[in-house]
């Protein structure tokens, strides 16, 4: 390789390294804004912004889904297996919403510490399987 080419290769390397460090630092400082949601533990610890809309993600606690009052409002508990927060929501739930499913709710806390959601999104995990196999998994859990 000629010296001129070596120099150009080195300059490229320097440029890519520089841009990477710059972007890395920018993302690091924006970390909280890129985080799509808070976990119930973070919400209970008061890390979520008060009186402002934020997203909370977790699993719907088994057996916690109920429709109190008018039948339009859904109430359920959301957990990250450490803490849980009660969520109230009036609106259409996505197809994947069910007990034990990961969801993300957008809303704010009311004075009773309940999370009043304006939007509920289902979070799908990376597991895909045929229905027969899923049936076997459930039975396995019951036996345990």
């Amino acid at each position: 390789m000629t010296p001129a080419r070596k120099k150009r290769l080195f300059l490229i390397f320097l440029m890519v390294a520089g841009v990477s460090v710059g972007v890395g630092l920018a993302l690091k400082s924006l970390d909280e804004n890129i985080m799509f949601f808070f976990t119930p533990t973070e919400v209970m610890a008061g890390e979520a912004p008060p009186n402002k809309l934020f997203r909370m993600g977790g699993m719907v606690v088994n057996g916690s889904v109920s429709r109190p009052g008018d039948g339009l409002t859904v109430q359920f508990d959301l957990t990250d297996n450490k803490q849980q927060v009660t969520v109230r929501y009036a609106g259409i739930l996505p197809d994947l919403f069910r007990e034990g499913q990961g969801i993300i709710a957008n809303g704010k806390l009311n004075e009773r510490g309940e999370f009043v959601a304006q939007e509920v999104l289902a979070k799908h995990d990376e597991n895909y399987m045929p229905p027969e196999l899923a049936g076997m998994h459930k039975e396995g859990e019951v036996q345990q």
Binding site: V16, F37, P94, K123, H124, E126, Y128, P130
Partner: protein, 241 residues
Amino acid sequence: MFLWFHKLGSPPHFYRIAGKWIPWLTWIFLILVAAGLYGGLILAPPDYQQGESYRIIFVHVPSAWMSMFIYVTMAFCAVVIIVWRMKLAEVVLISSAPIGASFTFLALVTGSLWGKPMWGTYWVWDARLTSELILLFLYLGVIGLHNAIEDKRVAARAVAILALVGVVNIPIIHYSVEWWHSLHQGASLTKFDKPSMPPSMYIPILIMALAFQFYYALTLFHKCRVELLQRERNSKWVKEL
């Protein structure tokens, strides 16, 4: 090997070789895409939660992979352009951009169509979706910048720098679902872990990914041939054609 590579770098030689390969690539692509779609849409079982809707994965995941693969190829060409000033690399870089942009667009659209029934929304500004959208803008930037500069050789060098700056986005897209809480799920297929789906589902995805690679190669060859003819229209070998 080096000699072969060196020869391939000469425009008339590449023009001839590419012309010979195109019919083969087309056939392999057609066979693979037929096999992948049959495996994905007919043989593969429905998902236990999403039912039939998950089948968009057979287009979505391979096109998302291609969107990143093509960008990395372009970045590699960019290094060759800046260091070695190789003409063929310039042609490959600029011919790849529209193909990469199309795959990125396809990944965004298919993901969005899946997102509405499954997540409950077409679009959210989470890290994975946003970084993939930035990738689309990078591709469009490369195309726009190339068209804005009259002298093709100067244009290629400018575009190479843009492509190299943009390459930082690739690891961000890949790791976005691990670094941040995102609505987009993590990877089901990774190199090191056991895939979190049965073979009847991931084999069609891999076949489709291979099919898309061949599609990229064959469109790239077509576009490169056209680009070469345009650039070298005054040279002896083009006049002799």
